[in-house]
């Protein structure tokens, strides 16, 4: 089989920029770790703004990748600026898509937080929004790359799809689908609190495959049944509120929380 020669470079590469809000920046690191395909990636897009990787930043870009959730008042203005400049805005990771772990605090008052986290001290603590929020709660998001952290292959596939002018595929179904196909024995059978049956797939059910129950870091799928999740937990010897505790981890932003909060008893710690 003859090796196909590389495609001729297009005239002007689309410019991509990466921005980081409240997050661990793990998703950006995930992008940097695409070593084997980084050159192909660089042959397809020009990266003009990337805090983890380049110093010389520019503000002209076509595609903006956003990592992190919005937590400070100034984040709102900044994201609006980015939205104005970018043709395509892509939220990456659980923080940007769902609010993620930052949103665990959303049910607490600032005073409560100051007490629990900073030992009651308010001085030097930056001003925060009342809710740690996903990007799409403030500006229009064109695509979302879910996961904590994002999946490298999915990022490449999304880029390929955008460059080819097609809509990137987002699995609408449960993690259980990929988990079962993989042949992983179900964690619930071992009495472990797995919420894969309401969680969105795309991760190839990697956590259950390595012995950890799913925590829905990609959010919920297109037709979650939270009452049935409680029922599944109960039938496997797990209290129903444990399901709520699990969902609270990544899915605690108000609009995402509401449906499961209605269907399940409150978590023991909020």
């Amino acid at each position: 089989m003859a090796n196909p020669s590389p495609a001729p470079a297009p005239q002007a590469l689309p410019k991509a920029a990466f921005f980081s809000f409240a997050s661990c920046e793990g998703c950006q690191l995930q992008v940097l770790s695409i070593e084997d395909q980084l050159l192909t990636l660089l042959g397809a897009v020009e990266i003009v703004n990337f805090r983890e990787a380049i110093d010389d930043r520019r503000d002209d870009y076509d595609i903006a990748f956003i990592e992190g959730s919005l937590v400070r008042p100034e984040d709102i203005e900044e994201i609006q600026q980015i939205r104005k400049r970018a043709r395509i805005l892509i939220a990456i990771g659980a923080c940007a898509c769902l609010g993620g772990v930052n949103a665990i605090r959303n049910k607490r008052t600032p005073a409560q937080l100051a007490r629990e986290v900073y030992d009651g001290r308010q001085d030097g603590v930056f001003k925060t929004l009342s809710d740690a929020s996903p990007v799409r709660s403030v500006v229009q998001v064109d695509y979302e790359l879910r996961g904590c952290p994002i999946d490298r292959d999915e990022l490449l596939e999304t880029l390929r799809s955008l460059l080819a002018g097609t809509v990137p595929y987002v699995p609408p179904f449960a993690v259980c689908v990929q988990c079962t196909m993989r042949g992983t024995p179900c964690m619930l059978e071992r009495g472990l609190p797995c919420v894969g049956s309401v969680a969105r797939a795309g991760c190839e059910a990697i956590c259950p495959a390595f012995g950890a129950p799913c925590e829905a870091c990609r959010g919920v799928h297109d037709s979650p049944n939270f009452e049935a999740l409680g029922e599944a937990f109960f039938r496997h010897g797990l209290p129903r509120y444990v399901a709520a505790e699990k969902l609270q981890l990544f899915n605690n932003y108000k609009e995402i929380r509401e449906p499961w909060e209605k269907a399940l008893p409150s978590p023991s710690i909020t």
Partner: protein, 347 residues
Amino acid sequence: MTERDVYRLPRERLGALVARLERDYRVLGPAPRGDTYAWEELRPGDPVSLDYPTTMLPLRALLAPQREVLFTFRRGDDGEVAFDPPADERPLALLGVHGCDLTGLRVLRAFHDSGTRDRLVTNRLDRAFIVGLACWVPCLGEAFCRDMGSLDNEIPADLYAWDIGDVLLVKVLTNRGRDVLTEVTPMEAATAEEVVTLRRRLRVRLEAFPQHLKFAPERLPIALEAAEGDLLWDANADRCLSCGRCNLVCPTCTCFDVTDASPLDGRTGVRVRTWTGCQVTGFSRVAGGHDFRPGRAQQLRYRIFRKGKYMPERYGMVGCTGCGRCPHHCPTRISIREIFRQVGGTA
């Protein structure tokens, strides 16, 4: 059972059987995985499992795999696109296939033979060497293979074995089965005493397999039709998660999705088919976002109808083997057996 076709295979000769098959086949047998079983490759010397309950994934995972490359494509410098079929693979030898899963292979065959014959799957089925194995006790509490007529099914096995202790009694069902057995045993017929033991055990076994349905599976299409508007679909769907496990563990589910994947260069790629199922979220959604079968109750009803009505009507064989996998692996234990029982009870 014609006794002249039943031969003795002493347990200690099982290794020789594996070694013989290894020459021509990729040999697989059930092996423990977590709290369930999975088909794994056997090497000569590996123990052959004769008393496993059942595997989580059905045999179609080997014959029509979860994710399969249908062909690869590449665009040359002249713009022409060339297609390459998947590489040739070693035929499979499957050791210890239970009656329900043999039935599952018959249904798989019927599906892939119909319409445009699927050569990838039917070739694998044609070339596979299959050793059937009789069950003495139900594998799962949810099994109802006896009701569905698959407990004693021997087709399409080449050899079919009853484990009666120190010796396996093996029935020869195909010429290729005879050839292989001839190479690993002196082809001693089962003794009169052994045949009596087998008959007695088969009689006693019926008590271990209570009947769950009060009607023959042939009645299912009519019974289901009468229950189409029943509330039982909604009642069951209330606790359905649309997780799709029922589809994926089922030996007779055959649905797949077809997608293309290619690296960033956009010049090469693969066309892949991936398992899906009628209870998987998004299955009935088509272009433009339209859903032609919305709602969990209708999706659940459809799955049951497919097994009990549509498949018998189309292929002349019931689409449920009674293997019990779908209720057993359903997170909320939605049970096809219970649903069949309910619809049959009123018909």
